[in-house]
């Protein structure tokens, strides 16, 4: 398996731990990069801050994005990704606790590719992660990697 990176943007360490456990239970052994907040996610993706120098030619296969994040919120992150040529086609799955109508509308309207609500029941959560991995990592053909022109295109 080549480097199909999963970027998990999640501030709650419990959720990180449970997500990792679910991935492992489903034998998904891709590299998982965890960003503790929105800012870090953006740093990683655009190779800034603590991630400066990272090769932006390599982009995650999928971004699992929580909405309620410290510093920069999930929706803001999404907005920034979609506003940047390098990340505007990047598959983003919103993985969050809420199923508030407003969150769904906001998420999709900013270009989320999918919206999954984390079930409280861990067994159900594991099942959700399994299907998520199967779909986005195996079935789904990712968009071609964009040239890092740095030019921002309005979406």
């Amino acid at each position: 398996m080549d480097k199909k990176i999963i970027l998990l943007v999640e501030d709650n360490p419990d959720d990180v731990e449970l997500t990792m456990r679910a991935l492992k239970k489903n034998n998904i052994q891709n590299e998982v990069v965890v960003a503790k907040d929105g800012a870090e996610a953006l740093d990683y993706l655009f190779a800034t801050g603590s991630h400066s120098g990272r090769n932006t030619g390599v982009m995650p296969q999928i971004v699992l994005l929580d909405l309620k994040l410290p510093k920069v919120s999930g929706l803001e992150v999404l907005e920034r990704l979609r506003a940047d040529n390098r990340t505007k086609l990047l598959p983003v799955v919103i993985l969050t606790s809420s199923k508030e109508e407003q969150d769904l509308v906001d998420g999709y309207s900013r270009g989320a590719n999918s919206y999954i609500r984390k079930p409280v029941d861990f067994n159900q959560f594991t099942e959700a992660v399994r299907q998520l991995g199967l779909y986005w990592l195996l079935l789904n053909e990712p968009p071609p990697v964009q040239k890092a022109t740095g030019a921002k295109v309005k979406v």
Binding site: N12, D14, D15, L18, R21, L67, K68, T96, S97, S98, K99, E100, E101, Q102, D103, K118, P119, V120, D121, F122, N123, F125
Partner: protein
């Protein structure tokens, strides 16, 4: 006859030795006399006439039979029928048989009597022809007896005519001729003609003188006074002298008559000439008509006036000259006049209308007379065309009419009364109409009669002033015919009316105006609004009583000072401005200011006002709006409070939303950790955990699920309360079917019969109604889950208030009605989770949704008897 009956020779033959009148002859005379007597009068009845004619016929028959006896020598047996005469009587050929001439005379006499009223076409009267020979025969016989010449009264050996027979014949004949004096010979003798005069003069002479002279000459010769030659000569000379003289006298008489006649003719001609010239030169039409109404005379004037020539109208009926409408009257009048002599138009001059040849009508004046000529009645009329005169009359009439109209058609009652007697001398139509008295009644009344009794002294005083020449207009009370008292304004003027001092009066009924004024005054007094009249000088002039009640000042106090002093000092400036606007002709609408009360407080007034610039007056109405002002302030305060409250509510809502959001995200995360790690412990430390430990962890996880469910339900509940409603028509029946099929899909093994009414539609928010329906149907599904078979019904009922109530009915677990009030409370449950799962939020959600739609939700049920949930929208 008497002679024969008594056998007296004197009566039979007059003189002895002379032949006797035969009995049959006497009968013949009697019959003839009777016949003449009966037929004598022309107006005799039919019966009388018939008897007379029968007698005449008998006379003729008797003569005819006797003649037959002589001619044919037979004896009919009538000669001796009544009396026997001795054979060989004097001058008698056959005993009892009358003479031949007598018989012949009787035949003629009978025929004459029969034909008494008969007249041939040429005007001859056969009666005369029959009578004359008889007369002559009689006369001849008498002459024979007188002169002693037998051959004159006897023919051959036949029976001779008795002397009195002859005389009777003459008498009868004269009687016969005189029976119809207006006709025949007698008419000739008695007529007023020249012939009549001559005949009357000559005939007696002819009969008398010739007979007398002849008789004298014969007797003289018989006495031996002269011989035949001398006698005849004397006779001739005397005849010549007498007849010569008679002829001359007759000629003179004729000449005299001729002269008279000529003079009469001259006079007549002159009269006719005058008449003709008059008729022909007259401008008037002179028309004469006969009694049938046919025109017989038509002069030039008539031609000019009517346009017809004489040829066109002569013989035509008079109706030709009249308009159609007079025809009937004319015919009836003519008939009436001819029958009864009653004349309506004759002898008078009347004005009528005539019709010209061209059909045009024109007014005419007709003088009609009638006269009688013989049996004919004639009418003559003098007709004058009075079109022009009418025209002039019309002008005069119109002029009079105009002046009359000024008086009569004056819309105000007008009259003239005599200043001395106070009698009405003239009244106009308006007065008649207004007061109810007829003109005739008025003219019999005095002006006192239209006053109420108590006003009469004042009236008399006023009249005395009028005589002095004062005519001030005034207000009076008058009494109509029906007793109604009216107020009038009188204007009068002195005039000379037919030589008498009189007063011309115009009366204007102001009753209504007075009443209106009184009414206005009443309203002014009663008004709850403050009414006032103020001068431009800044003072009140008139105030209604409510002012005193409102401000506490008396009207006198209010009028004493300029009104501005009562106005609140802060409002004075704008009040002055408003007053100026009014004085400039503007109107005031809804102007507000404050007025000072005697107790020191102020009251708010709202004004409507208008001004009469000419009279310098302001008319204003004010309403006390103090209370309204206070209420307005109160409302303003309440509104302010409400605004604050709303703002707070909005803030609270925002907070609630943030809270919900936070709950949605943050409250679930720990649950996930608890559940997730409990599961991890179960998996990773399976060997280290005993059964009890595993059970506890299971409980932890179950609690997590419940908690997560509670949070979700809570959020749902809060969500139905928030958010906009999108109202549209919702097909509840269709919605129910979708929900039901979803439920059945989840548990296909269950045997539940769903009965869903068709076409239940309602206005509402489809998303919210779906949540409500899901909850209700879900409940029905859930609470029937312990039944082997179940029945769930969705339908609608009409409520007493006319609203439609939808219901969902199941035959499941039901509930105790004692707890019905708790059903809709959030997190309230009637069953334990072991019995039926649930958080107790569903019905609370339903209630919120129904309430948000302005509806009502309630439930009916019994334990183990099913439940019915009703809702209206």
């Amino acid at each position: 006859m008497v002679g024969w009956v008594l056998d007296l020779p004197v009566l039979k033959s007059v003189f002895p030795g002379l032949v006797a009148m035969k009995a049959n002859t006497a009968i013949g005379f009697i019959l003839g006399g009777v016949s003449l007597w009966l037929l004598g009068s022309e107006k005799a009845g039919k019966r009388t006439r018939h008897i007379g004619q029968l007698a005449a016929l008998s006379v003729a028959s008797m003569g005819l039979v006797t003649l037959g006896e002589y001619l044919f020598g037979w004896d009919a047996g009538i000669d001796q029928l009544l009396f026997r005469e001795a054979a060989g009587s004097v001058g008698t050929s056959h005993p009892g048989r009358m003479a031949v001439l007598t018989a012949l005379n009787f035949v003629l006499l009978g025929l004459a009597l029969l034909s008494l009223d008969f007249k041939t076409r040429r005007g001859y009267r056969p009666a005369d022809f029959f009578t004359i020979p008889v007369t002559l025969t009689g006369f001849t016989c008498l002459t024979g007896y007188a002169y002693g010449a037998k051959p004159l009264y006897g023919i051959g050996f036949f029976t001779t005519i008795a002397v009195h027979t002859a005389a009777t014949f003459v008498v009868l004949c004269v009687g016969l001729l005189c029976a119809r004096p207006e006709r025949g010979i007698i008419a000739l003798l008695t007529g007023d003609t020249v012939g009549g005069a001559v005949a009357r003069r000559l005939l007696p002479a002819t009969f008398g003188i010739v007979f007398l002279l002849g008789w004298l000459r014969l007797e003289g010769q018989r006495a031996g006074l002269y011989d035949t030659a001398l006698g005849t000569s004397l006779y001739a000379v005397l005849m010549v002298v007498i007849f010569g003289a008679l002829t001359l006298a007759t000629a003179r008489m004729l000449n005299r008559m001729d002269a008279l006649r000529r003079r009469a003719e001259e006079t007549l001609r002159e009269s006719e000439e005058r008449f003709r010239s008059v008729t022909e030169t007259a401008h008037d039409a002179i028309v004469m008509a006969d009694q049938k109404g046919a025109i017989v005379l038509w002069n030039k004037g008539a031609q000019t006036i009517f346009g017809y020539s004489a040829n066109e109208v002569l013989g035509q009926p008079l109706t030709l000259l009249m308009p159609e409408r007079y025809h009937d009257g004319h015919r009836k009048g003519l008939q009436r006049f001819l029958q009864t002599g009653e004349a309506r138009v004759i002898g008078k001059t009347v004005e009528l209308h005539g019709k010209r040849k061209d059909g045009g009508e024109f007014p005419l004046e007709l003088s009609l007379t009638s006269w009688k000529t013989g049996n004919e009645i004639f009418f003559s009329g003098i007709i004058r065309d009075i079109s022009e005169r009418k025209g002039a009359e019309e002008v005069l009439r119109e002029s009079e009419e105009r002046y009359r109209l000024l008086f009569d058609e004056n819309p105000l009652p007008v009259w003239v009364f005599d200043l001395e007697t106070l009698s009405f001398l003239a009244v106009n139509e308006a007065a008649v109409r207004h007061y109810g008295f007829s003109r005739e009644e008025f003219l019999k009344m005095t002006i006192k009669d239209i006053r109420p009794a108590e006003d009469i002294p004042a009236l008399l005083e006023q009249v005395s002033k009028l005589k002095n020449g004062a005519h001030p207009p005034g207000e009076w009370r008058h009494r109509k015919k029906d007793g109604t008292i009216i107020n009038v304004e009188i204007v009068s003027h002195l005039l000379n009316f037919g030589g008498k001092p009189a007063e011309l009066v115009l009366a204007n009924d102001i009753t209504e105006r007075k009443r209106a004024e009184e009414e206005r005054d009443k309203f002014f007094t009663l008004s709850l609004d403050m009414l006032c009249i103020a001068g431009f000088d800044g003072h009140f002039k008139r105030l209604n009583p409510i002012w005193e009640k409102t401000l506490g000042y008396t009207v006198e106090e209010l009028c004493a000072k300029p009104f501005m002093e009562f106005v609140h000092p802060e409002d004075r400036e704008k009040t002055v401005a408003e007053s100026k606007k009014l004085a400039g002709g503007g109107d005031t609408i809804a102007f507000e200011n404050r007025y000072h009360c005697k107790d020191g407080s102020y009251r708010w007034f709202m004004w409507s006002a208008t001004a009469s610039v000419e009279s310098g007056l302001i008319y204003a109405a004010a309403r006390d709006i103090t209370e309204r002002k206070r209420v307005e302030r109160e409302i303003e305060k309440l509104n302010e409070a409400l605004r604050q409250h709303a703002a707070q509510l909005e803030a609270a809502n925002k907070e609630l939303e943030a809270f919900s959001y936070s709950v949605s995200h943050d409250l679930r995360a720990p649950l996930r950790s608890i559940d997730g790690f409990s599961q991890a412990v179960m998996e990773d430390c399976r060997e280290k955990l005993d059964e009890q430990g595993k059970d506890y962890l299971g409980r932890v996880r179950a609690a997590c699920q419940r908690m997560a469910q509670l949070i979700d339900d809570m959020l749902n509940l809060s969500r139905v309360s928030r958010g906009e409603m999108r109202m549209e028509t919702v097909d509840l029946s269709g919605m129910a079917r979708e929900i039901v099929s979803e439920l059945q899909r989840q548990a296909p093994e269950r045997k539940v019969t769903f009965v869903i009414a068709d076409k239940l539609l309602s206005k509402g928010d489809p998303r919210l109604l779906r949540i409500a329906m899901e909850n209700l149907l879900g409940n029905a599904w859930k609470y029937t889950s312990k039944r082997a078979t179940a029945r769930v019904e969705f339908g609608a009922d009409q409520q007493p208030d006319g609203k439609t109530a939808f219901f969902i009915r199941d035959d499941g677990a039901g509930f105790d009605m004692a707890y019905a009030g708790k059903l809709f409370g959030a997190f309230q449950r009637l069953h334990g989770p072991a019995e039926f799962a649930g958080t107790g939020v569903g019905l609370a959600t339903v209630q919120r949704i129904v309430h948000r739609h302005g509806g009502r939700v309630w439930a009916e049920g019994a334990v183990e008897q099913g439940a019915t949930f009703y809702f209206t929208l």
